[in-house]
Structure formats: C-alpha cells, structure tokens
C-alpha cells in the first residue's frame, strides 16, 4: 500500500517532528510511505483570503503530486478539509476536473482517521512503553466540523494508555483561523486566552491536538502568560513517543 504523506506547510517549516512522527506511525503499521519533494501548501490560506485562483493552482499541484498514491494522509484536519471538502464542493464543482478531485478526496485521509479506519491499528500494545499520562484534547474546527474527527484521536490516545481530562468547551475555536490570527490579532488572542483558561481548569499537564496552527496559537498564549510547564503536542508525536 503506497501512502503519500502530505506534510503540511506549517509542519515543514515550524515543527518537522510532527511529520516524522506521522511517518513513523505509518511505517510502523506497514505502509510504504512516499513524501513528494515538491509539495508546498494545500492553498487554504489563499482560499480563505479570497484568492481563489491561486488556491486552485495549488490544489492542482497537490493532485499531480499524489496521483500515483493509493492513499494520501495529512496530520491536519484543516488541510484535509481543504482537499476533501472545499476542492470538491466549491473550487472545482461543476468543472471538468471535479471527478479527479473527487477521486483525490476519496483516497485522502486525516491521519488519525486513516490509522483507525483504514489501517485499524491497535495501540493497546503501546500502553506500557509510552506512559503518556494525563492530557486534555482540543478539537480543531475544520477536522471536527468538516471531517467529523472527534473520536479517532481520542480512541488512539486512550488505547495507547492516555488518560483524557476533557476541558470545558473543547470544541470551541481557539482563535487561530489562519490569517485571522494576524488580521484580527486582539480578538484571536482573547479566544486563545479563553482556551488556555479551560486548559488550566482541566488540570491536565499536556494539551494535545491535531492541527499545528491551533497548537502554535495555544502554546504561544500559554508561554506569553507565563505558563512554562504545560506541554503542547500533536497527537502523532504523543502516539509515536516523540514528544519534545
């Protein structure tokens, strides 16, 4: 089974560790993983800024890069939503390329969904060696509302021995919103602060999520407000035993 890894632009630039964690999880499960070297971005920042044409150009680029793969997997609900939902339902809807993008959407999975639904991994055997401990989980909006990513990461984490202290409003947006976090930074910061308050209330020493954008936003606010101890990690890092 040939699996293409869509690394995501944020992981590539800011936290490559998440990419390697995803790679390890896939390879451990027996996948032949390819990582097309020319990949850059799914196009979502442009799409949500109104630059529709360039986001289509980038979507075509992604399509071509992963044409030979049986599956495409991304450690992000946000990029996955862009390719699985927006490319098909909006960008190429009614156009000659729609079918090709529909086919790409069919074989494209968010990482936790792929591990559970396609690879059917059993992480109960990891429970002893990982000693993950207690965490609280933030549901990222695109994964949750566009792709129904809710139970998957939790099941994987709990199988691997994690104990989850759910925070209040775990489904509430953290305020990242891509360029929103810069354009309307003050509102974005307040939303991040609300999230941080709920993380503190949960009492968990670690915040885990599935989208690096949200994680950077939340971590940035935690550190700015003097919290040096709460760990912030992608679930792939946790599952792979690669939390830094």
């Amino acid at each position: 089974m040939k699996v293409g890894l869509f690394v995501t632009c944020l992981v590539d630039l800011v936290r490559p560790n998440i990419g390697f964690a995803a790679l390890k999880l896939l390879e451990d499960a027996g996948c032949e993983v390819v990582v097309p070297a020319t990949q850059t971005c799914c196009g979502q920042p442009g799409y949500n800024s109104g630059a529709r044409e360039v986001s289509k150009t980038l979507a075509r680029k992604v399509l071509a890069e992963f044409r030979d793969c049986d599956y495409v997997v991304a450690p992000s609900g946000s990029c996955s939503g862009q390719m699985k939902v927006h490319a098909v339902e909006d960008l190429f809807k009614g156009e000659p390329e729609e079918e090709e993008f529909r086919a790409l959407a069919e074989k494209w999975y968010e990482l936790s969904d792929f591990l559970l639904a396609v690879l059917r991994v059993d992480y109960t055997k990891l429970a002893d060696e990982r000693s993950i401990g207690t965490l609280t989980y933030h549901d990222s909006c695109s994964g949750l509302r566009e792709l129904n990513i809710k139970a998957q990461p939790r099941v994987l984490l709990m199988d691997a021995g994690a104990s989850i202290n759910e925070m209040i409003d775990c489904e509430k947006c953290c305020g990242f919103g891509g360029t929103f976090s810069v354009k309307l930074g003050e509102i974005s910061t307040r939303m991040a602060e609300n999230k941080c308050a709920n993380i503190r209330l949960s009492g968990a020493p670690m915040l885990v999520g599935g989208d690096l954008g949200c994680l950077l936003n939340i971590e940035g606010r935690l550190r700015r407000t003097g919290d040096e101890t709460t760990k912030v990690a992608h679930y792939a890092e946790v599952l792979a035993g690669m939390v830094k």
Binding site: V7, C9, D12, L13, V14, R15, P16, N17, G19, F20, L23, K24, E27, V35, A37, T38, Q39, T40, C41, G43, P45, G46, N48, S49, G50, A51, R52, V54, T57, L58, K61, D90, C141, S142, R145, E146, K172, C173, G175, G177, F180, S181, V182, K183, L184, G185, E186, I187, S188, R190, M191, A192, N194, L216, N217, E219, G220, R221, R223, R224
Partner: protein, 473 residues
C-alpha cells in the same frame, strides 16, 4: 441606521476591554448556547427538520414573486392595504404619509429589525410622531439612545444596574434593582402608551401567503397590544419573510424559538389577518403592510441567495466565538455576527463593510446551528473573494498573498526560502525557542509568543535521512 462596520477592529478592541460588557456576554452565552442545545435535543428529527426547512425556504424564494402576489391578494381581501417599497427611503415615506394622513401623534412599536434597517424611528420623529418602543429590551435602548446589539435580545449587552440608572432618569421614580419590580415599572409606563397610541407598528417574523396573515413571535405580549389596540396597524417587513402556508409556519415555529433562546415555543404568537371585522371587539380600522426590498431582490439568483433563507433566530451569532467576545455593537450595523458579516456588505455595500467578512475564523459553528442550513462561512468567503478582486483589502495583505502565491507555486524557490526562513526564525527564537516580536506579524506577537522553528525544514531533514539509506526511523 448609520453604518459603522468599517470601524469593526477598533470598536471590537474597545469591547474586549469593557468589563461590564464582558460580564453581560458571559451570562448570555450560557442561556443561548446551553438553552438551545437542550431544546434541540427534545426533537429527535431535528436534522431532517433543518433540511426540510432549508428546502422550504429555497422553494419559496425561487417563487418569491408568486407567493408575494398571493399574499397581497389574500391580505387585501381581508381589508389590509399592501405597499411595496423598493428602498428604505420609500418605506419611510409610505409610513410617514400614513401617519400624516391620519393625524397620528403617538405610535407604539413592537420589535422590528427591518425598522432598524430603514431608520424608521428617525423618520417618524422628524415628522413629529412620538414613537415608543414596547419590547422591554428595545424600550431600554430607546432610553439609552443606542441601537440593538442583538436581533433577538436587543439589550443583552446591558446590565440591570445600567438599566436601573436609565429608568431613574426617565421615570423619575426611586431606583429599583430587582428585575420583576423594574419590569412592572416599565409595564406601567408603557400601559399608558399602549392605550393612547394612534398607530401600532410591528415587524413580522413571517407573512403567510395562503391566508394574508402577518405573524409576530414575542415573549412579552407587546405585539398583541400594538397590533390590536391602535386604530391603525402598520406592518413593516422584508419581502423574503413570506412563507406559503400555515402548515409551513408550524414547521418553522418548531425551529425558531428553540434556535433563538432554547424555548420550546415563544410565550406569544401574534397572528394578524386584516382589519377589525364586523362584530369584532378588537382590531385596527386600517391595516397597512409595507413590504420592503432594500437590496433583497439583488440576492435572488445570486451566489448569496441562500442568505434569504434566514429566519432571524440569531443562533449563528450566539454560537460565534467572535461575537461572544466582542458583542453586537462592534459589527456596526443592524445585524451582528456571521449573519451580519454576510448581510451588511449585501445591503450597505462591500466597500462599507470593512473587516466584517474577515471577522470569522471559519470555525463553522454558525453553519452547524443554523436552523435553515445557511452555509455562512462559504458566503463570507465569497465576500472575501470580492474584496480581494476589487482590491479592497489593505496593501500589506494583498502583498502578503502575492508573495505567498509566488513562492508556494514554485517548489524550488519555496524549498530554498523556507530553508532560510527556518534558520532566521530559529535564530530569532533564541534559547527559549520562541519569538516575542516580529514586524508584520505584530497582530500575533502583541498577545502571544510565536513558537520558533527548530532550524531545518522537514524536507531538508527528510532528504538527509533518505540519503543515509534504508528506513528513516
């Protein structure tokens, strides 16, 4: 109403630091969000009902002309006079003329957002008519000389202490701070107005084509007083409010109060059909129904048409994390929250809407709770696309997108530039590996650190490991 949407960012900033408002918003959130969730859970066919309601609204809008004419015919048959107003100004002219022709001195009003759209109170005021808002929230705001901050709970941003001060100034009575006594005091003041008004003005949540009925949902019963006591009843509403049958109303009313404030049904459903008939004890001698376009027909057949489904429940704003933090006034026009971010550019022009289409993270909660399934994020994105193509966004943002496009579409250039960026950012991050200030990204770094890259990109590290041969890890 004056448009102040272009000042969204600055106004929102003030609201974030307004402790009184923040307290009021937190209180309201529990009622709106938890209340709705509980009321929706009562109905096991909630999702199919949403689908049905969306289809019903779409079908009605697709045949808007036919249903409006049917409504006009049936309303006329029952003695009402239907007026068609293409613009806000025309609507005001019609209503002012009715007031003048009938020597109206006092008009009582039940809640109407359309009347806020057209600034009806100002027009009547200029014509010498005393207008009295009778919805308690609207009454409070009339005393405060403020516009509503919410379409269902207009004074949600006010605390009872603020209201107590307003009542002392207006009623010249001892200051009360327990809500039932305050309500009673307002009731006494309003009772006189109800009985002395010449004209009653109401909005309409729906108008029903098959019966010629206009319909108002309230919790205070004030619409009953406004529509039955004065000799003239004026209904002012948008043309998209028409629904085909009473049966359709039965569907929509199961969705509306639940979505709005978690109520199974509102305390009052006021249905008015025509004028006082022979032998009737109550009812107006004249009934005027002013159907307002003011930009609505422009939406029919456009890529924004889905917005006309809206039944004005306010669930989108109640659940919007941006609205929850900044309140309704920041949005600068009649309709706050996601619905406002779509409607304001539609009705007052995209050039006047400023940041509104961008005042969302696209978290999608609004779309999930909308009882008629309006894809609000998609519609906001369409406005962003228009802002982009019409070059209405700041140059820095446009330059940012241009640079990003140039690099992201050229893999070699991208690989090289991210290599450099990862190294520079790692240096900037220092020992603590976080950036505390970055020019151009101060929107982020004003309130948050930026966790710094580790120095090398994934693609570099991956290439290096692959050249080492074999499995990577």
């Amino acid at each position: 109403m004056e448009v102040r949407s272009m000042h969204f960012k600055a106004t929102a900033s003030g609201k974030l630091n307004d402790a009184v408002l923040q307290g009021a918003m937190k209180k309201a959130k529990g009622k709106f969000v938890d209340g709705r969730a509980a009321a929706v859970a009562e109905i096991d066919v909630w999702q199919p009902m949403r689908t049905h309601a969306a289809a019903l609204r779409d079908l009605t809008i697709a045949n808007l002309d036919a249903y409006l004419l049917e409504f006009e015919a049936n309303a006329t048959r029952r003695g009402a006079i239907v007026h068609w107003a293409e613009s806000a100004a025309e609507a005001n002219d019609i209503i002012v003329r009715i007031a003048r022709d009938n020597a109206v001195k006092i008009a009582t009003k039940s809640k109407s957002m359309v009347s806020e759209e057209i600034s009806l109170n100002d027009a009547l005021d200029a014509a010498g008519v005393e207008v009295v808002e009778t919805d308690l929230g609207e009454y409070i705001l009339q005393l405060a000389k403020e516009p509503p901050s919410h379409i269902v709970a207009p004074a949600v941003h006010k605390t009872k202490e603020q209201v107590a001060d307003l009542f002392v100034a207006a009623h010249h009575k001892p200051r009360l701070t327990d809500i039932p006594s305050m309500t009673l005091e307002a009731r006494e003041v309003l009772r006189e107005k109800f009985l002395s008004a010449d004209m009653g003005i109401s909005g309409a949540n729906f108008v029903i084509a098959e019966t010629g009925t206009t319909l108002t949902v309230t919790n205070e019963g004030n619409a009953d007083m406004v529509t039955t006591i004065p000799r003239i009843h004026v209904v002012v509403t948008g043309i998209e409010k028409v629904i085909p049958t009473l049966e359709d109303f039965a569907t929509l009313i199961r969705l509306l109060p639940r979505s709005a404030i978690g109520q199974t049904v509102s305390n009052y459903l006021t249905l008015t059909t025509g004028v006082k008939g022979e032998g009737d004890l109550d009812g107006p001698e004249q009934m005027h129904i002013v159907l307002i376009d003011a930009g609505r027909t422009k939406l029919v057949g456009s890529d924004m048409q889905e917005m006309l489904r809206c039944i004005r429940c306010g669930a989108c704003m109640n659940h919007c994390p941006v609205y929850q933090n900044v309140g309704g006034h920041a949005y600068g026009w009649v309709y706050p929250g996601p619905m406002g971010s779509v409607l304001t550019p539609t009705y007052v022009g995209i050039e006047n809407a400023g940041d509104l289409p961008n005042a969302a993270t696209f978290c999608g909660e609004c779309q999930v709770v909308c009882p008629v399934k309006i894809p609000l994020p998609d519609l906001m994105r369409k406005w962003r696309e228009r802002q982009f193509t019409q070059q209405l966004r700041p140059w820095s943002e446009r330059a940012g997108i241009a640079v990003w496009s140039a690099f992201a579409t050229r893999p070699t250039l991208y690989a090289w530039s991210t290599r450099v960026a990862a190294r520079v950012a790692a240096l900037l991050g220092g020992a603590k590996r976080r950036i505390t200030w970055l020019p151009g990204l101060d929107g982020w770094t004003d309130g948050r650190d930026m966790p710094a890259p580790t120095g090398k990109t994934f693609r570099e590290l991956y290439a290096a490991r692959r050249s080492g041969g074999g499995r990577l890890l």
